[in-house]
């Protein structure tokens, strides 16, 4: 009736464990070499350091590259065309995500965006999974 996807279990991560990172962009910075990652890391790929600090990211940035998905992966996605993109954040790191609140054809490289949160899928009736998304920046 109302599910975007019907009962599709998904991916390796446990839903409860990953809630905070689905809502907010959280960076982790290597204490040894200062390299910043959007993905959580246990070992720094740059210097192999294992000490990281969590850094809050603004979620604001510019579109680095994008695409308009015309044929969704699943017919039950039902949402029609949607835009995806890689965003270069103000902090200099990149983040991937869907770009919402815009006609997918109107997305441009260099366009300013900010984060929001949207429904991503429903795993069981009522078990709604939300995800951060990017939308055109208003100011």
């Amino acid at each position: 009736m109302t599910e975007e996807f019907r009962f599709i279990e998904h991916c390796a991560g446990d839903i409860n464990r990953t809630i905070p990172k689905r809502y907010r962009l959280q960076g982790s910075q290597c204490s040894k070499c200062g390299a910043l990652f959007v993905t959580k890391r246990l070992i720094c790929p740059e210097c192999k350091g294992t000490d990281f600090e969590e850094v809050a990211l603004t979620g604001r940035g510019k579109v680095y590259t994008y695409s308009a998905v015309r044929v969704p992966l699943l017919p039950v996605l039902k949402k029609g065309a949607y835009a995806i993109g890689v965003i270069e954040l103000e902090e200099g790191v990149k983040a991937e995500g869907q770009i919402v609140d815009i006609d997918p054809d109107d997305v441009k490289v260099g366009m300013k965006v900010e984060t929001t949160i949207r429904r991503a899928r429903e795993e069981y009736p009522g078990k709604v999974i939300y995800m951060y998304r990017f939308k055109p920046a208003r100011q």
């Binding site: 599910e3 907010r24 949402k79 029609g80 609140d101 949207r118 429904r119 009522g126 939300y130």
Partner: protein
């Protein structure tokens, strides 16, 4: 000083609009279209495919917190008023707290009535008064009427949020008055997908209770219609509030700033409060506002006086007008798709 003010406010209206013409075209039912025409709503706001009461509430909350100039971690409480939430167990307030990035906070929902939003605001004000941290109040609704139902052209989606706290803010909350009466005008048991309603009972009750409660508030606070620059009411359609205005002799121009249902429909628990946000967008220091919200046979009246803090806060986030103007028209089929009916 225990004076409680609205420190910040924010709105959110989804960008999709459905013209009532589209619904009429879809059903090509003359009687139906005459009925909906008479109610004066021209288009309604529709939540996108990936939006719901939680995401809209979050957007409005983020705006309000930003406008208040505080951190989410400073909040002592989050109260979400929502009529259309279809969960018996899953706190919207707790989800929004997590989304805002705070956890040491009392998060609770205020549900089961189209005045849940105003009741949440009154509770939030009291909580802020009693405690030492600010309280975030959210009114959000994403109602779904049955296809071809009389409510279909009227039910709109959107959200509004307020941060209540001590000190000089955007507007001082002067007082409130609530009354409750039991009536069967609109009701929905959990096992049925759409609301049952009796619009004639609802209109009459709305008119009677709102007039009575407004008079009671003004009597208790020693004010009269002339003392207020703005009035805002629940807007189940574009006609009912005008009846109340006539009865109370409120001049039409005092209703205009917060009268939005022609453009977005009835937002239920957010209906009067999004009008209040629109008023705050244009009001000047010292002006007084009387907001009234109707639901489940009863009414909440809230009186406000615009404070010094209004200056410099307006541009912190998009205004209601910004959201009203950022719109994309969709057809009836898209509407059904976005509403997850198809």
């Amino acid at each position: 000083m225990n004076k409680i003010s609205i420190l910040g406010y924010g709105a959110y209206i989804p960008r999709y609009r459905l013209k009532i013409d589209e619904i009429e075209k879809a059903w090509s039912d003359k009687e139906y279209s005459t009925r909906s025409r008479r109610l004066g709503v021209e288009e309604k706001a529709v939540a996108g495919f990936d939006e719901d009461e939680v995401t809209m509430g979050y957007e409005a909350a983020r705006n309000a917190v930003k406008r208040a100039g505080i951190n989410a971690a400073d909040l002592g409480g989050i109260i979400t008023g929502c009529m259309s939430r279809r969960f018996r167990d899953k706190s919207a307030s707790a989800m929004i707290a997590q989304m805002l990035g705070t956890s040491e906070v009392l998060a609770c929902d205020c549900v089961h009535s189209s005045k849940s939003g105003s009741s949440a605001l009154i509770l939030g004000k009291s909580m802020a008064e009693a405690g030492d941290r600010s309280v975030l109040v959210i009114a959000t609704d994403n109602p779904h009427a049955a296809p071809c139902d009389d409510l279909e052209p009227l039910s709109g989606s959107g959200a509004v949020a307020f941060v209540c706290g001590k000190g000089e803010g955007v507007a001082h909350i002067e007082g409130s008055y609530s009354c409750s009466r039991e009536v069967y005008d609109i009701w929905q048991p959990v096992e049925v997908p759409y609301m049952y309603y009796d619009m004639n009972v609802s209109r009459q009750q709305f008119r009677d209770v709102t007039v009575q409660a407004t008079m009671a508030y003004m009597e208790r606070h020693g004010t009269k219609v002339d003392d207020y620059s703005y009035f805002v009411l629940s807007q189940q359609d574009a006609r009912a509030p005008l009846g109340v205005a006539r009865a109370l002799k409120i001049p039409k121009e005092k209703m205009a700033a917060g009268f939005l249902c022609m453009r977005i429909g009835d937002l239920y628990s957010a209906s009067a409060l999004i009008g209040l946000a629109a008023i705050l967008d244009t009001a000047k220091e010292g002006e007084r506002i009387l907001a009234s919200s109707y639901g489940s046979g009863g009414a909440d009246i809230i009186g406000l006086r615009v404070g010094k803090g209004i200056k410099g806060r307006k541009d912190a986030c998009p205004s209601v007008e910004d959201y009203l103007n950022d719109k994309v028209y969709i057809d009836y089929l898209s509407f059904l798709r976005y509403s997850h009916v198809l």
